[in-house]
Structures are given as C-alpha cells and as structure tokens.
C-alpha cells in the first residue's frame, strides 16, 4: 500500500509530460528533481542549479529532500524562465501538473475555482477535454463564469445573493441551463 516518493514522482513525471502534449501540442514539459536551495525563489532555470547552497544538507534522503522543478517549452519557442510565461501559459502549465498528479494518484474529488479564467478559446477547449476525459474517474466541482465550462456540466448549481444579504443555492440539472441564466 505504501508507495515511495520516487515511485509517485516517476508516475507524476510521465503523466505530466503526456498532459503537456495535450495542453501545449508541439511543446515539451519536464519535471526534474534538484538539490534543495534555500535561496531558490521557486522559478525554474538553469541558473539556480549553478548556485548550490551550503546551508542545508543535500540529497533525496535529507530532510526536505530534492525539490521538484517544472519546465515548459511552448511550441515554437525556446525554453526559458517560467516567470516569463504568459498568464494563460502559466495556468495551462499548472493544470498539466495537477492532472499529472491526478493520473499518478487520483484524489476522490477536485474543486477548481475559476482555474480557466486566463485561457483563450483554444486552450479552454483543451482544458475542458481533459475534464471530460476523466470525469468517470473522479469528481470535478468547477466554479466558473465561462459559458463553455457550464456546457460540460452534468449538474449545475446557481448561487445568488438574496435580498437580505445572504447566499442562496439553486441546483438544476443541465437541461435547465436556460433557466439558470
């Protein structure tokens, strides 16, 4: 039953690379382990690896252990610092990592609050195709303002602020999508 970090990491890595193929067709994704660096600001780049710190014991066996670095090369572009990615590219990369983790070790449910807000039409379609692909394997609870996201719902919930300043919920099946608006 107990799985090691190495096993889960390997599974996550493989699935993450597959997810990048879906979300960044023609692009490339990499997950790497790196020695812990207390100064690392969290942005993946080659420069970080050249500045190992002596303040913390290193190696996967040490407390904290090796950190996980994410790298994305969008199609046609050269790989570079993750901080320079666009709003939509960052959201997509995060979604790829989340689904990578999911495929390695599914959680029973996911609550996604407007995670697709920065995505353009094409990328929104790719994200929605992932949710539809895996909707039989886990439960997705998605909060959104996007019409196309509403369209993939099995069940729709409308939340409203009542006249007395408190929240009220109406729950409908998708057939009443028209009424819900």
């Amino acid at each position: 039953i107990e799985t090691t970090f190495a096993e889960v990491f390997e599974a996550t890595r493989g699935h993450f690379e597959d997810m990048v193929q879906v979300l960044f067709p023609g692009g490339k994704g990499v997950l790497r382990l790196v020695e812990p660096d207390p100064d690392e600001a969290g942005v993946a780049s080659e420069a970080d690896d050249e500045e190992p710190s002596d303040e913390e014991p290193r190696g996967p066996g040490s407390r904290g252990g090796a950190g996980i670095v994410l790298e994305i090369k969008p199609p046609r572009k050269a790989p570079r610092s993750m901080s320079l990615l666009s709003g939509g590219e960052k959201a997509l990369a995060a979604i790829a990592f989340l689904f990578g983790l999911f495929l390695a070790r599914p959680c029973p449910f996911y609550v996604l609050d407007e995670v697709e807000a920065a995505l353009d039409d094409l990328n929104l379609g790719r994200f929605l195709s992932l949710v539809r692909r895996y909707q039989d394997r886990t439960q997705f609870i998605v909060i959104t303002h996007q019409r196309r996201t509403m369209e993939i719902a099995d069940r729709l919930y409308g939340v409203a602020m009542d006249a007395d300043g408190t929240s009220r919920v109406l729950s409908r099946r998708l057939t009443s999508l028209q009424e819900a608006e």
């Binding site: 993946a44 090796a66 950190g67 983790l101 029973p108 729709l156 300043g165 408190t166």
Partner: protein, 165 residues
C-alpha cells in the same frame, strides 16, 4: 469515493442552513460576483482542517462566522459538514458514508466530529491525508491561485507529491 453533500450554516454568506447535494461526474457552480461561490470552496477547505485564515481570505479563524448583513443579524457559530460516499472503501473506515463536521464559535474554539463522534483536528487531517488530501490540499484550487503550482518553490511541489505518496 466522492463528496456527496456540503452542509453549511453561519459560514460566511451562508447564514441560513444550506445543503448542496453532489453526484459523481462534473458539477458546475455559477453565479454573480460576490454571491458565495468561492465561499463554498472555502467551506470545503475549512471543514478538512485548514489552519491558516489567509488561505480562506480571513485574518482570524472567526472571520468565517457570518457577521451580519443589511437583512440578517450576525451568527454566533459557523458549522460545515462534508458528507463523503465511501462505497469504494477509499477512506480507511468501515462506514459506507463518512461525515466530517467542523464548528467554530465567536470565542474561537473549533470542534470536529467524524460520523458524529467528537474528534481532534489530527483525526480529520489523517482522514484527508488517507485520500491524498495532505496539508497542501492540492485538490482544492482557490480563485486566483492556479498559478501557484508554477510559481511555488520546488520544495512545495515536492510536498504535493509526498502527500500523494
């Protein structure tokens, strides 16, 4: 396993007793700005033992208690119950249904119950950890926070994978 119901009373804008019933598959929550959608997501995090008020946009833990509106007096207590279907036995308990309840009063004391029995925060956290929801609770992505997976440190990302292991 899946989340079959969320019940809230006195929690943020859900002053009155509210019940959301879910099924497997894709549930989509919509509504105007400020109507309470993200408050539902906060309720899930909170009931699973979230200890940092800022993670649910508050400054103190009591910020989750409905503090009144033009039309309603403030509440004394906030309570959230999550009901999980456990027919697949994912949760390490004998029950077919797992009910987790968290409650806080104005004086700040939090109470937890699992299937009606008074429990400690640690028991709730252990239960969540058993289904891959560790302290990072990565399966709940709050509004504006999707970038975190990309912006966070390598150590944080490692913690997510460790939770899953």
């Amino acid at each position: 396993a899946f989340l079959s119901a969320i019940r809230m009373k006195g929690f943020k804008t859900f002053a009155r007793s509210t019940e959301l019933l879910f099924e497997r598959g894709v549930s989509v929550i919509i509504g105007p700005n400020g109507s309470g959608k993200s408050n539902i997501s906060d309720a899930v995090l909170w009931a699973l033992g979230e200890q940092s008020p800022t993670s649910i946009r508050g400054r103190t833990m009591q910020d989750v208690i409905f503090s009144g509106s033009d039309g309603q007096r403030s509440a004394a207590v906030a309570e959230v119950t999550l009901l999980f279907d456990n027919s697949s036995g994912v949760f390490p308990m004998e029950y077919g249904e797992i009910e987790i309840t968290r409650r806080v009063a104005r004086d700040g004391a939090s109470e937890y119950r699992i299937n009606g029995a008074a429990s400690r925060l640690l028991d709730v956290q252990d239960l969540a950890a058993a289904v891959g929801l560790g302290r990072e609770m990565h399966s709940v992505i709050s509004q504006g926070k999707v970038d975190e997976l990309v912006n966070s440190t390598p150590a944080t990302r490692r913690a997510l994978v460790e939770d899953a292991a």
